[in-house]
Subunit: 161 residues, 2 copies
């Protein structure tokens, strides 16, 4: 079981967007160039983030992406779900229904103990990611690397034509 | 992100094996027939469980699979890991290394805050699955469906030629 690389790219790009000055935006091409990522594929992730209401995109020469709401109100789970979808990694196929005691009127995803155990683990995973916001991540980075916000802004400023 | 169906099949088959009488075993074909699963594919999962030391397989006309140790000492995480492998779903590619502040001598999987956040969630998921044994699952089933062990044994007994 492996998550798409898009999750890592999206999280780092969102974190990058926490350092955008008010009124500014970043293009997919620039965000991709920052980490030497393929722009077309990063753009796909950014579009998914836009559909999920995490970033907004504005057209025009000074357009691009910015966060749609304060980083305090975007959780890591929001970003992961925007890229990977809302489904659980473990999906009960209702296998017990095919067994000798199987019944058509039972929702095994709810009643099966195997399914419940897997579900509890998924909830623990989600709880952890929902408890961490982009602002938390940004603050962690700024504590360990105080120069990062300014150097990131400088890097993007240098890219202007 | 989606786990293979083999995890569900393996967990249910292991649970099924908790009801095998001492000295008995179940063939892959019978375990598959119990839930109407494709025997060849279930056999692949059983072989993975055998490689992980969760089940043992004995040859011969009364041979087959049985649990390699008491169900109290097999966790749900053991079974999931045997099928899905030990790797995390989120794998840090060290994307920061390609950034303007990237360094070759830093292990980003350890130091990157994005990676650490994702790792904490995986640990919460693993902790939950490691806290549940096959004996716990068996006991849950026996509490909600007290007739299941006897009926399961009868079903396998009826399959004998």
């Amino acid at each position: 079981m492996r998550m798409s690389e898009g999750v890592e790219w999206a999280l780092h790009s969102c974190l990058n967007l926490t350092w955008v000055e008010p009124g500014e935006a970043r293009t997919a091409a620039r965000l991709a160039a920052f980490y030497d990522l393929p722009a077309a594929y990063l753009n796909k992730q950014l579009q998914a983030l836009a559909r999920a209401g995490i970033v907004t995109s504005t057209p025009g020469p000074r357009g691009g992406f910015r966060l749609a709401r304060p980083p305090e109100r975007i959780t890591v789970l929001d970003v992961v779900t925007a890229i990977e979808g809302p489904g659980d990694a473990f999906r009960c196929s209702g296998l017990l229904r095919n067994g000798p005691e199987g019944r058509d009127d039972v929702d095994y995803a709810r009643s099966c103990h195997v399914s419940q155990t897997m579900r509890r683990a998924e909830l623990a995973w989600r709880r952890e990611l929902a408890g961490q916001t982009l602002a938390d991540l940004r603050d962690d980075v700024e504590r360990s690397h105080p120069g990062t916000p300014a150097r990131t802004r400088e890097w993007f400023a240098r890219q202007r034509p």
